[in-house]
């Protein structure tokens, strides 16, 4: 089973991202489960969401404590939340950041990937510079950096499930797919 944990802020679309990723893997005939950290949502507050992907039905319904991947939609969260908590040895952290992977200091035991998802999102008219909606961009980057889910599946799921601006979100995913560094 592949376990992915999302860290974002309320309003950035972390929960929608976890669902779109699950739907994309489902298109590839995987069994999936995605859910938010069960809480009360507030705009701007730290939000956690989870996606599980497996070749067989997923019976374990508990929260993810030892993810294979951590996706951080807002780099400022790194100072507030222990984003690598429980991350498996050699697991990957994908950060929305202007920095290069080698400039990110999260220890040596993890692989780091970065993409400036904010820039990509704003360029496609998704939110504003201060409140960008980066979930589609980060999913495109995840497809390339992880190799776990094909970008075509991500694109198809965005077109089906994005709450608005379907084409812009899909285009942002494709651009971030090209721009991610790892």
């Amino acid at each position: 089973m592949i376990q992915i944990r999302f860290h974002g802020r309320g309003g950035q679309g972390s929960v929608v991202a976890s669902n779109i990723l699950a739907a994309a893997a489902f298109l590839e005939e995987k069994w999936v489960q995605s859910f938010p950290f069960f809480g009360v949502e507030r705009r701007g507050a730290p939000v956690t969401a989870y996606t599980k992907i497996d070749d067989k039905p997923i019976w374990d319904r508990s929260e993810i404590t030892d993810p294979d991947y951590v996706i951080v939609l807002d780099a400022s969260l790194v100072a507030v939340v222990d984003v690598t908590n429980g991350l498996k040895e050699n697991g990957m952290v994908l950060l929305n950041s202007e920095s290069k992977p080698e400039d990110i200091e999260l220890g040596d035991s993890f692989r780091i990937a970065t993409v400036d998802a904010t820039e990509v999102a704003v360029a496609h008219g998704l939110g504003s510079k201060s409140a960008p909606i980066v979930n589609s961009s980060i999913l495109g980057a995840f497809s390339k950096a992880s190799g776990e889910v094909d970008i075509k599946s991500i694109e198809a799921s965005i077109l089906k499930m994005a709450p608005a601006k379907h084409k812009e979100n899909a285009a942002a995913a494709l651009e971030a797919y090209e721009k991610v560094q790892f």
């Binding site: 669902n19 699950a22 999936v32 019976w59």
Partner: protein, 394 residues
């Protein structure tokens, strides 16, 4: 019809749609969930042919369902926690009137302290209202059970309402694959409701009259008998479902790896889904443990429980609610059923996951170890309480 990825709440709504519910009455404010939001969308778009009645409280929602069902319409509502509690009086009216209403209840803990997370205190508190109670472990089961519940409830040997439970968040807000069966197949399985008596202006009848003591008792006995007779119908309907749709949900009690088990846990809802992982882990270590999942709590499956008692030496009953004064309800009912059993294994109650506290496989493995060793030290243990520090130990 293809599989799709959806939440338990969407599965619940599609269940009501496929069952061709004709009247949906609901109060749309918290603790209400997205079940009725989805149904409102389906009705507004014309995809579902139903009268959607937005009412001013859950008490009114059930009153509207009672009136609709009394005219012979198939009625549906959904609620949760305090919404269910506010319905209490009307739940008794619905069951006493012998109306086959089906209701989704998203199991949420009762306040105070305020909570929106999963536990069964809300529906357990309605145990004695005369409603059947189904507890689901997957979104697929939610969809299938809404349809099955109408078939059971509308059977003329039954004619009592049914609640279809979903764990808050663990099902209600979780995306997972669900097979949505074709409408035609569901129509073949579930014919239109054929009420034995209904309100009809051309053929007037009076319902719910005052009944003096020399007749009241017989009315109550008939509910008791209907609830007894529902066992067979629940089993048959699930078997028929399996024949038609290729999946069973276990009738009243679903067994998992009970073959040659020395010890078993009894649990319900999503924790029994997670428990499969714990049991697989224990079996890999050569420990003979199994699971009996209470899919139905009303009627209580005492015969199935007595059968399990014949097979194992020790049972742990996991309750996600508590009856203040004596144990969790699943435990006290299990213990009550076992008193009449020829063989009585060691039984202990574990109260767990209250207020939505997460239940990882390792916690269930910890309980299974205790059950295997027939641990003493009281009848009831609140597992993982912070004050005892056992959450860290386990």
């Amino acid at each position: 019809m293809p599989m799709d990825v959806m939440t338990g709440n969407s599965a619940q709504a599609y269940g009501a749609k496929l069952a061709r519910a004709e009247v949906v009455a609901a109060y749309p404010i918290t603790p209400q969930t997205t079940v009725v939001e989805k149904l409102a969308d389906l009705v507004a778009s014309g995809e579902m042919k139903a009268q959607f009645i937005k009412v001013e409280s859950e008490h009114s929602a059930m009153a509207a369902c009672i009136a609709a069902s009394a005219t012979g319409a198939r009625a549906y509502t959904a609620t949760a926690a305090h919404g269910l509690a506010l319905m209490h009086e009307m739940l008794i009216w619905a069951a006493g009137s012998r109306l086959p209403i089906v209701m989704g209840n998203i199991n949420r803990a009762m306040a105070p302290p305020w909570s929106v997370w999963a536990d069964y205190q809300d529906s357990i508190a309605e145990r004695d209202t005369g409603w059947m109670q189904f507890y689901c472990q997957s979104s697929q089961e939610v969809l299938d059970t809404v349809i099955q519940a109408y078939k059971v409830a509308e059977n003329h040997d039954v004619l009592i309402p049914a609640m279809v439970m979903e764990d808050a968040f663990y099902l209600s807000h979780t995306f997972e694959p669900v097979d949505v069966p074709p409408q035609k197949d569901v129509d073949d399985f579930l014919p239109p409701y054929d009420p034995p008596v209904k309100l009809d202006v051309d053929n007037p009848v009076g319902l719910c009259a005052l009944v003096p003591p020399d007749h009241y008792m017989e009315f109550r006995f008939k509910i008791a008998k209907a609830m007894e007779d529902s066992r067979k119908v629940i089993q048959e309907v699930d078997e028929e479902w399996e024949k038609k749709f290729g999946r069973s949900h276990g009738g009243l009690v679903e067994r998992y790896r009970m073959e040659d088990a020395d010890a078993a846990i009894i649990a319900a809802g999503t924790m029994s889904s997670t428990a499969r992982v714990a049991i697989d882990n224990m079996r890999d270590k050569g420990k003979k443990v199994g699971l009996a999942r209470l899919r139905v709590f009303r009627p209580f499956p005492y015969e199935e429980i007595r059968q399990i008692a014949k097979e194992v030496d020790s049972i742990g009953v996991l309750d996600r609610s508590y009856t203040f004064g004596h144990g969790g309800a699943f435990y006290t009912e299990t213990a009550g059923a076992l008193y009449q059993a020829p063989e009585r294994p060691h039984v202990k109650n574990y109260v767990i996951g209250i207020g939505g506290r997460d239940i990882p496989p390792k916690d269930i493995e910890g309980i299974l170890e205790k059950v295997l060793t027939k641990e003493d030290g009281g009848e009831v243990e609140w597992f993982g309480l912070r004050t005892s520090g056992s959450r860290e130990v386990n």
